[in-house]
Symmetry: C2
Subunit: 566 residues, 2 copies
Amino acid sequence: MRIVIVGGVAGGMSAAARLRRLDESAEIVVLERGGDVSFANCGLPYHVGGEITHRDSLLLHTPASLRASLNLDVRTRHEVIAINRSARTVTVRDLEAQRDYDLTYDDLVLATGAEPIVPPLPGLDRPEVRTLRNVPDADVLRRMLDEGARKAVVIGAGFIGLETVEAFRNRGLEVTLIELAPQVLPAIDAEMAQLVEAELRAHDVDVRVGIGFVAVEDSATEHPIDVVLADGTRVPADVVLLGVGVRPSTALARAAGLELAPSGAVVVTQAQQTSDPHIYAVGDAIQVVDAVTGAPGVVPLAGPANRQGRIAADAIMGRSVASSPVLGTAIVRVFELNAAVTGPTSRRLTAAGVEHRVVHLHPGNHAGYYPGAESIHLKVIFTPSGRLLGAQAVGGAGVDKRIDVLATALRAGMDVDDLAELELAYAPPFGSAKDAVNMAGFLAQNLLDGTLSNWSGTDLDSTLDGSVLVLDVRSAQEFESGHLPGSLNIAHVDLRARIDEVITAAVGRPVRVLCASGFRSYLAHRVLSAHGIDSASLDGGLQTLLAIRPDAPLVVGSDFAEAMRS
Amino acid sequence: MRIVIVGGVAGGMSAAARLRRLDESAEIVVLERGGDVSFANCGLPYHVGGEITHRDSLLLHTPASLRASLNLDVRTRHEVIAINRSARTVTVRDLEAQRDYDLTYDDLVLATGAEPIVPPLPGLDRPEVRTLRNVPDADVLRRMLDEGARKAVVIGAGFIGLETVEAFRNRGLEVTLIELAPQVLPAIDAEMAQLVEAELRAHDVDVRVGIGFVAVEDSATEHPIDVVLADGTRVPADVVLLGVGVRPSTALARAAGLELAPSGAVVVTQAQQTSDPHIYAVGDAIQVVDAVTGAPGVVPLAGPANRQGRIAADAIMGRSVASSPVLGTAIVRVFELNAAVTGPTSRRLTAAGVEHRVVHLHPGNHAGYYPGAESIHLKVIFTPSGRLLGAQAVGGAGVDKRIDVLATALRAGMDVDDLAELELAYAPPFGSAKDAVNMAGFLAQNLLDGTLSNWSGTDLDSTLDGSVLVLDVRSAQEFESGHLPGSLNIAHVDLRARIDEVITAAVGRPVRVLCASGFRSYLAHRVLSAHGIDSASLDGGLQTLLAIRPDAPLVVGSDFAEAMRS
């Protein structure tokens, strides 16, 4: 029995290793077009940035080590150029020897991955314009930096784009980041991405969102090239990293007549089987099903790729297995900030017509009285009946933990009541007796059972038109530092004694209450409700409002930034 | 309507705050025997140790701040001395004014907590013998340290005991730790606790396990007292911390005739209602149900207490609610090491007659090629059909995250297939494409479907009696540094070529394979199985074997410790 695997990274190598563990006698041939197999593609930006100092660290295995350990026949620089399905052969080009040969297979695994999208714009073939997908790509970038590149443009503010921005800044380059979408990190919602954008700016990254580029041209400056933006702006650069996304690399599957999705991705069953029962496909090249919306899509992430490789091996060996739908759980570190997501964004749910509710909150990563506590900015999305749909978190320590807990809850089909009752490990250095995830559950429960009515930063315009009373329940000092025009300030601790002032000022209008983070306004909202006053509490407080509407017309005092931290 | 709450920390204060948010008009009276309410009891050891420098940080609220924010009537130094259930009154003693008064209630919440167990042994009334349950306790300890205490004995190696050991060492004291059980941290299994014990010893703590103390007496040394152990040993000390556990503080409930469990804990419904429908109870004073075994028990942890307080408030307000059974998720930091648990231990499952399987593994907290990776020592427990029963983790960074993910999976009733398919957030600084929890799932799947047969350190004696061949598949260098007597060394990469040597040496005996962590021996086991050789792989490798059997008769070379890290 011979199994041929096309592609020797993540999914392909997982399949090969698992196949050997399940079958000692099968002949397992791994054909890899590039010069390396089983390399740490997710580590490339950290090698460029100098955190991973040794190039060898990225090369987890060699053909020789895989032969010794797993008796795999790994052939690098061997490209599969055709599949003959009826004969069950692949035609292989030995790129070194420049000769072609045929190889029969009993089963074939396609792990051809994805390739960077290179828009059809002039100048992208210039040597200063690079992508970052493999070790030689990293070598080139490192060499350019070593040779004195000082000014970089990163095009695309997705995961690889942001990690490369960080790498370039760590190496001391001036960096301009260009993103066509109106926000950085389109994998998360805009108001969460706003925090990431602020972090980028705080690290002197020149962030340009909502604008495309049209060409790369010769520069009149001391730098070799200009990236020309859609508005005619020219951004000089020594190096350009193109990170506008990837597309499934499926020319081989297409030529072989395998069923492809409109996206170009290979269509597979839950056992990773393509439309040809002897051909399996895994990883970035395939179409997956969104676990929450059920929609088909492409999710180029290492975790699913590795697990799919394992599932494909099991299926080939006759085991009854099924890959899980994909949540799209992901995380990126951007300087001191971490941003993570599981499940679809509000934006994607809205586009898919899925009715949903959200809560924003800013709990501490651990007990506030223990030194070093910092806020986690958390967004949790759920159905009107309370089922969890997704979550996003931005902050420092503990962001990864909360998203992993929520990804587990999402996989389990938990609802917000379950989040409230999760029993997570608590000691002061690690969390709080009521963990951030519990707090999200409480808040969502309150919203759904009517204990809490929220208003949102998206309601800002109708809030400022005089049709409502804005009641700011922060302290007088916080209020002075910055507040919405026309708002009434009564600290929440004074509200019971001054309730008549609210009634007088409201003159029958609804009251929209706000504070910094949403907790004190919730308390005030409960007091107002008990007095029969129609009121709502600002979801996530001013912190979230200003992330949703950075242009909010605040009356700002001198110590605004300081006050927002309280 | 008046609701009276007895006890103003964790559960009691959660109930009070939630009650106010649900009912603006109710009269809510909180009666607290001590001088403080809503203090950070979990922070006390960190204040003693100096990490939390300001005493005020521990006092999260005062009666005045709770009046202002939530209109609560909080009375400290007011002790409830009797409940008159038929009249629905409590008799309250004002400890300052030394007068008693009666207070009627519509509903009563008992949050009386737990009290330290003080064994009936001579000398425990000496002023040098302390417990640590409240802020004045911390004040006393800090004063003793400030006044020159240099030598401490901590009795009891549970959570508070270990946190206090750390605190004392941080303050420069010599510390002896005494534990009656044969291991430290009885909340986890012995082989996991072995790692904690090693960490304590590495920080110069004199650890004495498996021995009790019989008295505290005058010392003939320069220190005021000796702790006298069961074997007659005398350990001199300036200060003794008694941390042998707590018991539910339910004298009041008992005197009122409420139904108590044999443990002394108050029996409650899922709505936190006692046998009197107008009396609710929450927190350390109550009996809870173990989520996994269904057994009743007492779990004095802050997380459940806080959530139970919230549930009690909801129930009093007529909401249909139910507290969850308790997993006992907990974590403790011991110097550089973190130890965490969710669900029952193997020891407890065995005692309860619950059939179970375990896997031990030592995956990295994040990608190995990213700087700073360290091992997480992980134990996962599951039924023979694969349902998750519990987990324990010991290590540095990332221990809390994995236990929280596993606690969520346990709450969801996940099985090991679900663990394999969890989609957790991966980037090199945070995890691996196959996360530690995925790896545990893979391993458990392999064990249950027969892809993997394990042997365990508990089988050591029968392994060394000549009835099996021990095959050590580490490198020659690792083998030389330390190995089991009589074992055959063939590195796993050489096994295929040297398989005949194994067959010859085995002479029909089963083969027990081992490596450092269990992965290479798994690969070797698969090769042997394919050759028809009866074999098994050592669960968790030598790392786990030596934790199970620290007395294993190793043939040890000079660089053993170094080799074990690989």
